[in-house]
């Protein structure tokens, strides 16, 4: 092993320690570190698989009434469908810990989201919550957008209607994605997410 290899290993170890400590969270404007999770078929999916693409991360839990509403009212599938057709990567992530009563097996998750008309690139499982905690994902839903350069450019809610009663909603994710696709800066990059808490292991 030469000096360059040793240096490389040290750098990787340092980067890992930064994001495994639980203290350092990904902030808007910072480069998102790579992560790897299993999808519903057991296949490993890495963020770096989508290098150079715009990536949306959606935290979810099908037992949460806020998630149920945004799917049943077609708010989430509408944005998913619109933007995956435009080449945007959509990663739906479930950080529910296996001991929680909201935890569902992959087969059941596949059935529910298929019935709801979900259109994701991959549905990823984060049972130990490491990736959720890295992003400080707090609610379901909680949305993040990563730009082509791998930087986090949006962190927050799907829209401005936590109670689900507004006729005219501002869909923050749709607006941000349209701005990115039109080469404009994102006008609203941070909002307060709403929903149920992510069911992390305590």
């Amino acid at each position: 092993m030469n000096a360059t290899q040793i240096f490389g290993i040290l750098i990787l170890a340092f980067a890992f320690s930064l994001f495994s400590s639980g203290d350092k969270k990904v902030e808007v404007g910072s480069v998102v570190p790579d992560f790897a999770l299993n999808d519903l078929n057991g296949k490993v999916v890495k963020l770096s698989d989508f290098k150079g693409k715009i990536v949306v991360l959606e935290w979810t839990n099908p037992n949460c009434p806020f998630v149920q509403r945004v799917y049943k009212e077609k708010i989430m599938p509408g944005v998913q469908s619109e933007f995956t057709q435009k080449g945007i990567v959509w990663l739906t992530i479930n950080s529910t810990n296996p001991k929680h009563r909201d935890y569902l097996e992959p087969k059941e998750l596949k059935r529910i989201y298929s019935e709801w008309g979900a259109v994701y690139t991959a549905y990823l499982l984060d049972p130990d919550g490491k990736v959720g905690k890295m992003f400080d994902a707090k609610t379901t839903p909680h949305m993040f957008i990563i730009d082509k350069d791998g930087k986090l450019v949006y962190n927050g809610a799907i829209d401005d209607d936590p109670r689900g009663e507004k006729k005219e909603k501002v869909n923050y994710v749709r607006n941000a994605l349209n701005e990115i696709l039109n080469g404009k800066p994102i006008s609203i990059s941070i909002t307060k997410p709403y929903g149920c808490s992510v069911k992390y292991a305590e």
Partner: protein, 265 residues
Amino acid sequence: MKSLVLNFILIILLQTYMFSQSNKIVKVEIISDWDGTSDEFNLGVKFSISPGWYIYWRNPGDAGLAPEIKFETLSNLKIGDIKFPLPEKIVHGDIVSYGYYREVVLLIPVRIISKEKLKNQNVVKAKINWLVCSESCVPENATIEYKINKASPNDIALMERYKKRIPKKFELSGLEVKDFKVEKKGNSNLIKVRFAGRNVERLVDFYPDIVDGFLIDYKSVKVKNGNIELTAMGVNPADVMNLLSGVIVLNNEGYELKLNLTKIK
């Protein structure tokens, strides 16, 4: 025969109402502390919450949703804003919420505009919705009618108990703000407030309000030796926080704090 049919319909309606209430995790009812003569009193929305479940404060924290009460407008009454008693801090790992287990009465101040009209129009109708959570969350709602009459001693005593838990004015806390500062740390604002006064040793916690344009990191709230420290991020990352609002907790009592952070202390 006509009255028999009417009675039958009423029984069915009553049973439907009771069944819909009994299936819920939270039962709600409206009470009041009206003495039968005063022009001002409080309505109370009493939430009886199944063991292990909780509903949320005016600021739910990281997750959840505050209860919502919408009264049908009545021309003979002026209905004020909801007053929330001091909640509990509910912590699950990194996620902090504020809410109530078991029971809470939310208070709504009422002023009678016309006592004459009240004789003929004395029923208030409220649409109430809330989110109740334990491990999972369930949204619930109810529409309740309440006939305004002189309150029973039990209801007055219950209302009194919850009135005592409404956060009081800061001036009554026995504290004063000694100094404060806002430091920018990357995208975040680090806010430090130092208190002085005879009750400074009793200061145990701070429950922040939602501040427009900023996201408070609730788990960052630290209260020690008369100091409050917390971080908040601007919706525009460059923004500097200019207002801190919430409830300071001295033992088991709350006091409203509204601090203009642009004023030089």
